[in-house]
Symmetry: C2
Protein backbone atom coordinates (compact mmCIF):
# COMPACT_ATOMS: atom_id res chain seq x y z
CA UNK A 1 0.00 0.00 0.00
CA UNK A 2 1.21 3.44 -0.89
CA UNK A 3 2.03 5.69 2.04
CA UNK A 4 -0.21 8.67 2.58
CA UNK A 5 2.26 10.11 5.00
CA UNK A 6 3.45 13.66 4.54
CA UNK A 7 6.95 14.12 3.26
CA UNK A 8 9.12 16.26 5.51
CA UNK A 9 12.63 17.53 6.01
CA UNK A 10 14.73 17.52 9.14
CA UNK A 11 15.42 21.11 10.11
CA UNK A 12 18.12 22.19 12.56
CA UNK A 13 16.40 22.10 15.94
CA UNK A 14 17.02 25.77 16.72
CA UNK A 15 15.57 26.85 13.42
CA UNK A 16 12.48 24.68 13.80
CA UNK A 17 12.01 25.99 17.28
CA UNK A 18 12.21 29.54 16.00
CA UNK A 19 9.71 28.78 13.25
CA UNK A 20 7.28 27.49 15.82
CA UNK A 21 7.79 30.58 17.95
CA UNK A 22 7.25 32.89 14.98
CA UNK A 23 4.11 31.02 14.00
CA UNK A 24 2.87 31.28 17.57
CA UNK A 25 3.53 35.02 17.73
CA UNK A 26 1.80 35.82 14.48
CA UNK A 27 -1.23 33.79 15.50
CA UNK A 28 -1.35 35.20 19.01
CA UNK A 29 -1.33 38.73 17.59
CA UNK A 30 -4.43 37.81 15.61
CA UNK A 31 -6.40 35.61 17.98
CA UNK A 32 -4.91 35.96 21.43
CA UNK A 33 -3.26 33.21 23.43
CA UNK A 34 -6.31 31.12 24.20
CA UNK A 35 -7.53 31.67 20.66
CA UNK A 36 -4.36 30.20 19.21
CA UNK A 37 -4.54 26.44 19.45
CA UNK A 38 -1.56 24.18 19.13
CA UNK A 39 -3.14 22.81 15.96
CA UNK A 40 -3.36 26.30 14.46
CA UNK A 41 0.20 27.10 15.39
CA UNK A 42 1.51 23.85 13.94
CA UNK A 43 -0.42 24.44 10.75
CA UNK A 44 0.99 27.94 10.33
CA UNK A 45 4.49 26.56 10.83
CA UNK A 46 3.62 23.88 8.27
CA UNK A 47 4.18 20.96 10.59
CA UNK A 48 1.84 18.62 12.43
CA UNK A 49 0.76 19.29 15.95
CA UNK A 50 2.74 16.50 17.55
CA UNK A 51 5.97 18.30 16.75
CA UNK A 52 5.20 21.07 19.17
CA UNK A 53 5.29 18.64 22.03
CA UNK A 54 8.67 17.45 20.79
CA UNK A 55 10.19 20.91 21.16
CA UNK A 56 8.13 22.32 24.01
CA UNK A 57 6.96 20.48 27.09
CA UNK A 58 3.52 22.08 26.92
CA UNK A 59 1.58 24.85 25.28
CA UNK A 60 2.37 27.29 28.07
CA UNK A 61 6.05 26.47 27.63
CA UNK A 62 5.78 27.53 24.00
CA UNK A 63 3.89 30.68 24.96
CA UNK A 64 6.52 31.64 27.50
CA UNK A 65 9.31 31.10 24.96
CA UNK A 66 7.45 33.18 22.41
CA UNK A 67 6.92 35.96 24.92
CA UNK A 68 10.59 36.05 25.87
CA UNK A 69 11.65 36.05 22.25
CA UNK A 70 9.32 38.91 21.41
CA UNK A 71 10.34 41.08 24.35
CA UNK A 72 14.03 40.54 23.70
CA UNK A 73 13.54 41.54 20.10
CA UNK A 74 11.60 44.71 20.92
CA UNK A 75 13.98 45.88 23.62
CA UNK A 76 16.95 44.93 21.48
CA UNK A 77 15.87 47.21 18.66
CA UNK A 78 15.41 50.10 21.06
CA UNK A 79 18.63 49.70 23.01
CA UNK A 80 20.73 49.27 19.90
CA UNK A 81 19.55 52.62 18.60
CA UNK A 82 20.88 54.45 21.63
CA UNK A 83 24.06 52.54 22.27
CA UNK A 84 25.64 52.53 18.85
CA UNK A 85 25.62 56.30 18.83
CA UNK A 86 28.80 58.06 19.80
CA UNK A 87 27.05 61.41 20.03
CA UNK A 88 25.87 63.51 22.94
CA UNK A 89 23.57 62.28 25.68
CA UNK A 90 20.82 64.36 24.16
CA UNK A 91 21.31 62.61 20.84
CA UNK A 92 21.25 59.20 22.46
CA UNK A 93 18.05 60.01 24.31
CA UNK A 94 16.54 61.26 21.08
CA UNK A 95 17.50 58.10 19.24
CA UNK A 96 16.05 55.97 22.04
CA UNK A 97 12.73 57.78 21.95
CA UNK A 98 12.65 57.74 18.18
CA UNK A 99 13.26 53.98 18.04
CA UNK A 100 10.54 53.40 20.62
CA UNK A 101 8.07 55.29 18.46
CA UNK A 102 8.91 53.81 15.07
CA UNK A 103 8.16 50.43 13.52
CA UNK A 104 8.69 47.64 14.30
CA UNK A 105 8.25 48.64 17.94
CA UNK A 106 5.19 50.66 17.00
CA UNK A 107 2.90 48.32 15.11
CA UNK A 108 -0.54 46.75 15.44
CA UNK A 109 1.19 43.44 15.92
CA UNK A 110 3.20 44.63 18.90
CA UNK A 111 0.19 46.19 20.59
CA UNK A 112 -1.94 43.12 20.04
CA UNK A 113 0.79 40.88 21.38
CA UNK A 114 1.16 43.06 24.43
CA UNK A 115 -2.57 42.93 25.08
CA UNK A 116 -2.72 39.18 24.53
CA UNK A 117 0.13 38.46 26.87
CA UNK A 118 -1.10 40.80 29.59
CA UNK A 119 -3.91 38.43 30.48
CA UNK A 120 -1.50 35.54 30.84
CA UNK A 121 0.82 37.52 33.09
CA UNK A 122 -1.73 37.39 35.86
CA UNK A 123 -1.74 33.62 35.87
CA UNK A 124 1.70 32.47 34.84
CA UNK A 125 4.37 33.31 37.41
CA UNK A 126 7.21 32.68 34.96
CA UNK A 127 5.78 35.12 32.45
CA UNK A 128 5.22 37.67 35.17
CA UNK A 129 8.87 37.45 36.15
CA UNK A 130 10.03 37.96 32.58
CA UNK A 131 7.67 40.89 32.28
CA UNK A 132 8.95 42.67 35.34
CA UNK A 133 12.54 42.19 34.27
CA UNK A 134 12.05 43.63 30.80
CA UNK A 135 9.93 46.50 32.06
CA UNK A 136 12.39 47.54 34.74
CA UNK A 137 15.23 47.27 32.26
CA UNK A 138 13.52 49.61 29.83
CA UNK A 139 12.55 52.09 32.48
CA UNK A 140 16.05 52.21 34.03
CA UNK A 141 17.55 52.64 30.59
CA UNK A 142 15.33 55.62 29.95
CA UNK A 143 16.09 57.07 33.38
CA UNK A 144 19.84 56.85 32.73
CA UNK A 145 19.49 58.58 29.39
CA UNK A 146 17.44 61.38 30.92
CA UNK A 147 19.93 61.80 33.75
CA UNK A 148 22.79 62.03 31.25
CA UNK A 149 20.93 64.54 29.10
CA UNK A 150 20.19 66.72 32.12
CA UNK A 151 23.74 66.52 33.37
CA UNK A 152 24.94 67.52 29.94
CA UNK A 153 23.00 70.76 30.19
CA UNK A 154 24.47 71.41 33.60
CA UNK A 155 21.41 70.51 35.60
CA UNK A 156 21.30 68.29 38.65
CA UNK A 157 18.04 66.83 39.91
CA UNK A 158 17.20 64.80 42.98
CA UNK A 159 16.66 61.07 42.77
CA UNK A 160 12.96 61.50 43.38
CA UNK A 161 12.64 64.16 40.74
CA UNK A 162 14.52 61.96 38.29
CA UNK A 163 12.19 59.07 38.94
CA UNK A 164 9.25 61.39 38.49
CA UNK A 165 10.54 62.59 35.14
CA UNK A 166 11.34 59.07 33.94
CA UNK A 167 7.87 57.89 34.87
CA UNK A 168 6.24 60.75 33.01
CA UNK A 169 8.41 60.27 29.92
CA UNK A 170 7.87 56.53 30.00
CA UNK A 171 4.14 57.11 30.11
CA UNK A 172 4.30 59.44 27.13
CA UNK A 173 6.21 56.84 25.15
CA UNK A 174 3.79 54.10 26.17
CA UNK A 175 0.80 56.21 25.27
CA UNK A 176 2.08 57.17 21.85
CA UNK A 177 3.20 53.61 21.25
CA UNK A 178 -0.25 52.42 22.16
CA UNK A 179 -2.07 54.89 19.94
CA UNK A 180 0.29 54.40 17.03
CA UNK A 181 -0.14 50.67 17.14
CA UNK A 182 -3.86 50.69 17.79
CA UNK A 183 -4.66 53.34 15.17
CA UNK A 184 -1.95 53.04 12.54
CA UNK A 185 -3.79 55.18 10.02
CA UNK A 186 -4.16 58.16 12.32
CA UNK A 187 -0.55 59.21 12.17
CA UNK A 188 1.79 60.31 9.43
CA UNK A 189 5.11 58.50 9.33
CA UNK A 190 7.10 61.00 11.39
CA UNK A 191 4.29 62.33 13.51
CA UNK A 192 4.63 59.95 16.42
CA UNK A 193 8.34 60.48 17.18
CA UNK A 194 7.78 64.17 16.59
CA UNK A 195 5.04 64.38 19.22
CA UNK A 196 7.09 62.22 21.57
CA UNK A 197 10.21 64.35 21.31
CA UNK A 198 8.28 67.57 21.77
CA UNK A 199 6.29 66.28 24.73
CA UNK A 200 9.21 64.71 26.52
CA UNK A 201 11.31 67.75 25.73
CA UNK A 202 8.68 69.86 27.45
CA UNK A 203 8.55 67.60 30.46
CA UNK A 204 12.27 67.53 31.14
CA UNK A 205 12.82 71.03 29.77
CA UNK A 206 15.39 69.97 27.19
CA UNK A 207 14.92 70.83 23.53
CA UNK A 208 14.98 67.47 21.74
CA UNK A 209 13.67 68.66 18.41
CA UNK A 210 15.98 67.55 15.69
CA UNK A 211 17.23 70.38 13.58
CA UNK A 212 17.32 70.44 9.84
CA UNK A 213 20.71 69.41 8.51
CA UNK A 214 23.22 72.17 9.08
CA UNK A 215 24.49 74.01 5.99
Amino acid sequence: MRSNRRKFKHEPPDQRKLELIEAALSLISENGVKGSTVRDIAQRARVTQGLIRHYFSSKSDLILSAYRHHMEQMNGVTYASASRLEGSAKERLTAFIRASLTPPVVSPRAVCLWASFLVQLQQDANMKKTHEETYTEFRDHLEDLIAAALKETGRVVSKDKLRYLATACNAVIDGLWLEGGALPDEFASDELPDIGLNSIGSIIAVDLREKVAQP
Copy 2:
Protein backbone atom coordinates in the same frame (compact mmCIF):
# COMPACT_ATOMS: atom_id res chain seq x y z
CA MET B 1 -38.78 11.51 46.06
CA ARG B 2 -37.40 14.82 47.24
CA SER B 3 -36.29 17.19 44.59
CA ASN B 4 -32.59 17.90 44.33
CA ARG B 5 -33.31 20.93 42.26
CA ARG B 6 -31.79 24.25 43.29
CA LYS B 7 -34.11 26.78 44.81
CA PHE B 8 -34.15 30.08 42.98
CA LYS B 9 -35.82 33.46 42.90
CA HIS B 10 -37.21 35.33 39.94
CA GLU B 11 -35.25 38.54 39.49
CA PRO B 12 -36.37 41.50 37.40
CA PRO B 13 -35.00 40.75 33.93
CA ASP B 14 -32.94 43.94 33.72
CA GLN B 15 -31.30 43.29 37.04
CA ARG B 16 -30.49 39.68 36.19
CA LYS B 17 -29.05 40.79 32.90
CA LEU B 18 -26.88 43.32 34.67
CA GLU B 19 -25.71 40.69 37.14
CA LEU B 20 -24.65 38.48 34.27
CA ILE B 21 -22.82 41.36 32.63
CA GLU B 22 -21.03 42.25 35.85
CA ALA B 23 -20.05 38.64 36.40
CA ALA B 24 -18.76 38.49 32.84
CA LEU B 25 -16.72 41.69 33.23
CA SER B 26 -15.09 40.65 36.46
CA LEU B 27 -14.20 37.26 35.03
CA ILE B 28 -12.95 38.68 31.74
CA SER B 29 -10.65 41.04 33.61
CA GLU B 30 -9.11 38.01 35.29
CA ASN B 31 -9.01 35.42 32.53
CA GLY B 32 -9.67 37.16 29.24
CA VAL B 33 -12.62 36.57 26.96
CA LYS B 34 -11.74 33.10 25.74
CA GLY B 35 -10.68 32.18 29.24
CA SER B 36 -14.08 33.05 30.66
CA THR B 37 -16.48 30.24 29.91
CA VAL B 38 -20.21 30.57 30.07
CA ARG B 39 -20.18 28.09 32.92
CA ASP B 40 -17.72 30.22 34.87
CA ILE B 41 -19.75 33.35 34.26
CA ALA B 42 -22.97 31.68 35.32
CA GLN B 43 -21.34 30.36 38.45
CA ARG B 44 -20.03 33.80 39.43
CA ALA B 45 -23.51 35.22 38.93
CA ARG B 46 -24.82 32.34 41.05
CA VAL B 47 -27.09 30.92 38.38
CA THR B 48 -26.82 27.92 36.09
CA GLN B 49 -25.39 28.17 32.62
CA GLY B 50 -28.66 27.71 30.79
CA LEU B 51 -29.86 31.08 32.02
CA ILE B 52 -27.27 32.91 29.97
CA ARG B 53 -28.86 31.61 26.81
CA HIS B 54 -32.18 32.85 28.05
CA TYR B 55 -30.94 36.44 28.25
CA PHE B 56 -28.33 36.45 25.50
CA SER B 57 -28.53 34.78 22.14
CA SER B 58 -24.92 33.58 22.33
CA LYS B 59 -21.71 34.05 24.24
CA SER B 60 -20.50 36.74 21.86
CA ASP B 61 -23.77 38.57 22.38
CA LEU B 62 -23.07 38.65 26.11
CA ILE B 63 -19.50 39.78 25.48
CA LEU B 64 -20.65 42.62 23.25
CA SER B 65 -23.21 43.75 25.84
CA ALA B 66 -20.58 43.64 28.56
CA TYR B 67 -18.16 45.65 26.43
CA ARG B 68 -20.75 48.33 25.70
CA HIS B 69 -21.74 48.53 29.35
CA HIS B 70 -18.14 48.91 30.45
CA MET B 71 -17.27 51.59 27.91
CA GLU B 72 -20.37 53.61 28.67
CA GLN B 73 -19.54 53.50 32.34
CA MET B 74 -15.93 54.59 31.88
CA ASN B 75 -16.72 57.43 29.52
CA GLY B 76 -19.67 58.44 31.66
CA VAL B 77 -17.50 58.95 34.72
CA THR B 78 -15.07 61.06 32.75
CA TYR B 79 -17.58 63.24 30.95
CA ALA B 80 -19.60 63.90 34.07
CA SER B 81 -16.53 65.33 35.77
CA ALA B 82 -16.08 68.00 33.11
CA SER B 83 -19.68 68.86 32.39
CA ARG B 84 -21.03 69.43 35.86
CA LEU B 85 -18.46 72.13 36.44
CA GLU B 86 -19.51 75.68 35.90
CA GLY B 87 -15.97 76.95 36.10
CA SER B 88 -13.51 78.13 33.49
CA ALA B 89 -12.49 76.07 30.47
CA LYS B 90 -9.16 75.48 32.13
CA GLU B 91 -10.92 74.07 35.18
CA ARG B 92 -13.07 71.81 33.06
CA LEU B 93 -10.07 70.48 31.16
CA THR B 94 -8.32 69.88 34.46
CA ALA B 95 -11.29 67.99 35.84
CA PHE B 96 -11.49 65.88 32.69
CA ILE B 97 -7.83 64.92 32.84
CA ARG B 98 -8.05 64.27 36.55
CA ALA B 99 -11.04 61.96 36.17
CA SER B 100 -9.28 60.09 33.39
CA LEU B 101 -6.31 59.45 35.66
CA THR B 102 -8.13 58.47 38.84
CA PRO B 103 -9.97 55.31 39.83
CA PRO B 104 -12.19 53.75 38.67
CA VAL B 105 -10.97 54.72 35.21
CA VAL B 106 -7.43 53.98 36.26
CA SER B 107 -7.42 50.47 37.66
CA PRO B 108 -5.95 47.06 36.92
CA ARG B 109 -9.43 45.90 36.07
CA ALA B 110 -9.94 48.55 33.40
CA VAL B 111 -6.56 47.89 31.79
CA CYS B 112 -7.10 44.15 31.78
CA LEU B 113 -10.54 44.57 30.29
CA TRP B 114 -9.17 46.84 27.60
CA ALA B 115 -6.48 44.31 26.73
CA SER B 116 -8.92 41.43 26.75
CA PHE B 117 -11.38 43.17 24.48
CA LEU B 118 -8.74 44.42 22.05
CA VAL B 119 -8.23 40.94 20.67
CA GLN B 120 -11.95 40.53 20.05
CA LEU B 121 -12.18 43.86 18.26
CA GLN B 122 -10.24 42.44 15.35
CA GLN B 123 -12.76 39.71 14.80
CA ASP B 124 -16.13 41.05 15.85
CA ALA B 125 -17.40 43.82 13.58
CA ASN B 126 -20.04 44.94 16.06
CA MET B 127 -17.48 45.37 18.80
CA LYS B 128 -15.18 47.24 16.45
CA LYS B 129 -17.95 49.68 15.66
CA THR B 130 -18.67 50.32 19.32
CA HIS B 131 -14.97 50.81 19.92
CA GLU B 132 -14.54 53.41 17.20
CA GLU B 133 -17.55 55.33 18.41
CA THR B 134 -16.42 55.56 22.01
CA TYR B 135 -12.85 56.36 21.06
CA THR B 136 -13.77 59.18 18.70
CA GLU B 137 -16.18 60.55 21.26
CA PHE B 138 -13.49 60.73 23.92
CA ARG B 139 -10.95 62.25 21.61
CA ASP B 140 -13.33 64.94 20.31
CA HIS B 141 -14.34 65.77 23.84
CA LEU B 142 -10.73 66.31 24.78
CA GLU B 143 -10.10 68.38 21.67
CA ASP B 144 -13.03 70.66 22.48
CA LEU B 145 -11.80 71.20 26.01
CA ILE B 146 -8.30 72.03 24.79
CA ALA B 147 -9.67 74.46 22.22
CA ALA B 148 -11.74 76.19 24.88
CA ALA B 149 -8.82 76.43 27.27
CA LEU B 150 -6.60 77.92 24.58
CA LYS B 151 -9.27 80.37 23.52
CA GLU B 152 -9.67 81.40 27.12
CA THR B 153 -6.03 82.44 27.25
CA GLY B 154 -6.47 84.43 24.08
CA ARG B 155 -4.69 82.00 21.78
CA VAL B 156 -5.94 80.78 18.44
CA VAL B 157 -4.48 77.71 16.80
CA SER B 158 -5.08 76.12 13.41
CA LYS B 159 -7.26 73.06 13.02
CA ASP B 160 -4.21 70.92 12.28
CA LYS B 161 -2.33 72.23 15.24
CA LEU B 162 -5.33 71.58 17.46
CA ARG B 163 -5.56 68.01 16.23
CA TYR B 164 -1.87 67.60 16.85
CA LEU B 165 -2.18 68.85 20.42
CA ALA B 166 -5.23 66.70 21.13
CA THR B 167 -3.43 63.62 19.85
CA ALA B 168 -0.41 64.30 22.01
CA CYS B 169 -2.52 64.97 25.10
CA ASN B 170 -4.64 61.92 24.45
CA ALA B 171 -1.52 59.83 24.21
CA VAL B 172 -0.23 61.16 27.50
CA ILE B 173 -3.52 60.30 29.18
CA ASP B 174 -3.52 56.84 27.63
CA GLY B 175 0.05 56.21 28.65
CA LEU B 176 -0.46 57.27 32.24
CA TRP B 177 -3.72 55.37 32.38
CA LEU B 178 -1.94 52.29 31.11
CA GLU B 179 0.94 52.53 33.57
CA GLY B 180 -1.28 53.36 36.48
CA GLY B 181 -3.48 50.38 35.81
CA ALA B 182 -0.71 47.97 34.97
CA LEU B 183 1.52 48.97 37.88
CA PRO B 184 -0.83 50.20 40.60
CA ASP B 185 1.84 50.11 43.30
CA GLU B 186 4.25 52.36 41.43
CA PHE B 187 2.28 55.53 41.97
CA ALA B 188 1.12 57.48 44.96
CA SER B 189 -2.54 58.40 44.98
CA ASP B 190 -2.18 61.86 43.44
CA GLU B 191 0.92 61.24 41.38
CA LEU B 192 -0.77 60.18 38.18
CA PRO B 193 -3.09 63.18 37.69
CA ASP B 194 -0.22 65.37 38.80
CA ILE B 195 2.10 64.06 36.10
CA GLY B 196 -0.70 64.24 33.57
CA LEU B 197 -1.58 67.85 34.32
CA ASN B 198 2.05 68.92 34.23
CA SER B 199 2.81 67.08 31.01
CA ILE B 200 -0.28 68.20 29.18
CA GLY B 201 0.19 71.69 30.53
CA SER B 202 3.66 71.69 29.01
CA ILE B 203 2.41 70.40 25.68
CA ILE B 204 -0.32 72.98 25.23
CA ALA B 205 1.55 75.67 27.13
CA VAL B 206 -1.18 76.24 29.68
CA ASP B 207 -0.47 75.97 33.39
CA LEU B 208 -2.88 73.35 34.67
CA ARG B 209 -1.27 72.79 38.04
CA GLU B 210 -3.84 73.11 40.77
CA LYS B 211 -1.39 73.64 43.60
CA VAL B 212 2.33 73.58 44.14
CA ALA B 213 2.76 69.90 43.62
CA GLN B 214 5.90 69.08 41.71
CA PRO B 215 8.62 67.51 43.87
